[in-house]
Each structure stands twice: as C-alpha cells, then as structure tokens.
Symmetry: C2
Subunit: 161 residues, 2 copies
C-alpha cells in the first residue's frame, strides 16, 4: 500500500504512517506464525490451530465450551469441531456435559493432553525466543508497552461500535 500512498488520497503523511506500521506488523506476525507452524509440523506433526486449541484449554484451567474456544482462538484456519474430534480421538482432550446445561459440553485436557501440550509449549517458547532474539530487552519492553496501548484502543473502540 505504500506504493499507492500518493494516489488521490485525502490522507495525510501521518496517516500513511499507520498503514505502513500495520503492513509491517502484519508481515512480522505472518513470518513468525509461518515459522512456528513449520516447526510444529516438523517437530510434532501437528498444526498451529491444534496447538492453539490445546493452549486455550491449558490457559482456562477448568475447561471451556466449544463456543468459548472458538471466540478465544487467535489462529484462524481450522474447523473447530473437526479439530476437537481429532484431538479427542487421540486422547488429548475429553468432553463432559456442561454443569447446568445438558445440551452443551465442556472440553478439557486429559492428563495425556496436558503432558503433550507442555512439551509442545516448551519448544514453541524456544522458537519464539529465538525469533525475537533480534531485539534487545529495552526494545522488547518498548514493543510490549506500545502494543498494550494499541490493544486498549482497539478494545475500547470495539465496544463503542
């Protein structure tokens, strides 16, 4: 989009900076995601959506309904029901009736799922540390703080709509 920045646009230079920042962020996020996906496939023969599914359960502690998992998944691409069926058949997750709502079910990690996820997460952290190793600690702290502000703005404007 940088290349068409001057074409009949009513945006100012400062505005274009936002677009350049966004394209750079998207490009970084895509590179990190793709590399993590490649390594998950090579190391554990699994996918990023499957990893993310297990991560949401691990973070929740008490299990989640399918709708909650769907809302929390940060990685797209992957049918939630199909992923759940696969993970259940591999014994990594288990479903039980939701308390107070017999039509819904709650999904939880099994002990085998917890163990498998812990190993994946340990390796995944190592890959992320490696990929962000090009930044020194001050740069990482700065990035963290600026992204926090961006996220607050995004959440605040989301609620207003």
């Amino acid at each position: 989009m940088i290349e068409r920045a001057d074409r009949e646009s009513r945006l100012t230079e400062a505005d274009h900076l936002s677009v350049r920042v966004w394209l750079r962020m998207l490009s970084c996020a895509t590179l990190v995601e793709r590399r993590a996906a490649t390594r998950l496939r090579q190391t554990f023969a699994t996918t990023l959506p499957r990893f993310d599914f297990l991560a949401q359960l691990e973070r929740s502690g008490n299990g989640l309904r399918m709708t909650e998992i769907s809302e929390r998944m940060m990685v797209t691409g992957g049918n939630i029901t199909r992923i759940a069926d696969q993970l259940e058949s591999e014994g990594l997750i288990a479903r039980s009736p939701a308390p107070g709502d017999r039509r819904a079910s709650v999904v939880q990690l099994t002990p085998a799922g917890e163990q498998a996820f812990a190993e994946m997460a340990r390796r995944h952290e190592g890959w992320i540390v490696e990929m962000f190793g090009g930044l020194d600690e001050l740069e990482r702290r700065t990035l963290y703080a600026v992204l926090a502000k961006l996220k607050r703005h995004l959440s605040a404007t989301e609620r207003k709509r």
Copy 2:
C-alpha cells in the same frame, strides 16, 4: 502462555518477555484483521483474501504469476485458484500467457479492477488510521522502527535455515 511461565521451564524472565510480546502482537494483529474483514464484508461484500489478492496485483504493476501471488499473500484462508476464478468472472482481473512460458499465465488487474480496488484501498486505509489512532506519532514511529529490526532478524535467520 503467561500462566504456564513457571512450569518446568528452562527459559529466563527475559525470554518470557518475548512470548508475552508475541502473544500481544498476535492479539493486536488478529483484532485489526478481524475488524478490517468485517468492514470489507459490510462495505464491499468482499473478503480479506480477495482484497489482499487485488492488493498484490496493484503493488506489482506488471502482473504476477499465480505462484508469485501465493507467496506474497499475507492473509491466509482462501484458495488462490478459487479467488482468481471469482475475480476473473467479475471482470476485476484478467489472465494472459506468461512471456516465454506458454504453460504459465500472468494475472493482472483490469481497468475495472483498478478502479474497484482503489476505492476499497481508500476506505481500508481510513479504517487502519482509525484503529492505530490510539497511538501518537512518536509511538507509531517507534513501533515502525522496532518492527523493522524484528523483520530484518526474521529474514536473516530464515535464510540461514
């Protein structure tokens, strides 16, 4: 992942910062992408992969082969061939034989495609400016610079592998 930070991990506090930065970046990128996708759908009845496909052609100037488009697409989710078929049937893109390789074809924007994309891109820029409006100019410049360094590190380590 923050929650399991202390579990049998050999990573240091500084390392965990990388994971926190990554999750926050992924979360911001996901929020921006989802909101852009919603608005593209509401305003132009189109999708982010279709928009990204047209954007790659617009940026290339001279058209691209399908394999090049596939490599450059930053947005996943969307079969490239199916998207091309749709856009061609709507008259927004055209295919012609690749010079020097009769088996391959080059995809280009049609004049109608250029016009449609220009309008979409103008609105899309406005949404991005709005979403990044929570940051002041210094913060945007800082973010841009730190992401540039991260991207260089990612590219450099990609080539080594």
